[in-house]
């Protein structure tokens, strides 16, 4: 079969359309994870602080801490892991300050997103890029 330039263009256009379709049909898993936490409400910046290393040599244990004064719960979401959810902190009556620190796994260089639900029902969001040298998901 002879492949003319015109055939190649048509094929390419068709493939591109197919590739784009799922993106339009479904939101990304990360957006879904955020929406599941916020219930679809919009988030604003500020009022939340996420501390993560700029460069993590070992993706198996990346120390992160998050703090959002006045929050009732904070969710951590990874944008590059097979499963976006990392963990959710829920603060109770005797919580001294809305602060949590833990160690997480990151599959590769990616953004880590923190979304906090405030006591008044609003949501704030922040993110931090972590460069990962060795991924933490196993082979």
């Amino acid at each position: 079969m002879n492949f003319t330039r015109r055939d190649a263009l048509i094929l390419g256009a068709g493939a591109a359309t197919v590739a784009l379709l799922p993106v339009q049909a479904f939101a990304s898993p990360v957006d879904d994870a955020i929406a599941a936490f916020t219930g679809g409400a919009a988030t604003t910046e500020g009022g939340i602080e996420l501390t993560a290393p700029e460069i993590a040599e070992n993706g198996n244990t990346v120390p992160v801490s998050v703090s959002a004064p006045g929050a009732v719960s904070i969710i951590l979401i990874s944008t590059g892991n097979p499963v976006p959810d990392v963990c959710t902190f829920n603060f109770g009556a005797l919580s001294g300050s809305q602060f949590g620190s833990t160690r997480i796994r990151l599959a590769g260089t990616q953004d880590v997103i923190a979304v906090a639900k405030m006591a008044d029902g609003s949501f704030v969001q922040t993110s931090s890029v972590v460069k990962v040298t060795i991924g933490g998901c196993g082979g």
Binding site: N90, T102, C137
Partner: protein, 109 residues
């Protein structure tokens, strides 16, 4: 039941009433993420601690929902207000149904 699970918790022994203290917890657990494959290429099923809670005299301090992206030997550091003397109860819930607990007392005075 996962083997060799041992909770470790660091809480100050004393505090003044109303003080905010820092609590550090660590529990040895392999936290199988569900993403790894064994030598035959089969996925190893997920087996993690899915929930951690901390209570003081029956009142909730905080709880955490864990997913596969939490590292082996999950570690948490957080802050608690101490209104009176009493006990901190720490509870970890495993996917396999096991529950691990640890209690630490604190004296106010």
């Amino acid at each position: 039941m996962a083997v060799g699970v041992k909770p470790r918790v660091k809480v100050p022994k004393t505090a003044a009433a109303g003080d905010v203290i820092t609590i550090k917890t660590l529990i040895s657990h392999k936290m199988e993420s569900g993403q790894r494959k064994d030598s035959d290429g089969n996925k190893i099923p997920q087996s993690i601690i899915n929930t951690f809670t901390c209570d003081f005299n029956g009142q909730n301090v905080m709880s955490v929902e864990l997913h596969g992206a939490i590292s082996t030997n999950p570690y948490f550091q957080f802050k608690a207000t101490v209104p009176e003397s009493g006990d901190f109860n720490f509870t970890w819930y495993d996917d396999d149904g096991s529950v691990y607990t640890e209690t630490k007392s604190i004296a106010v005075g």
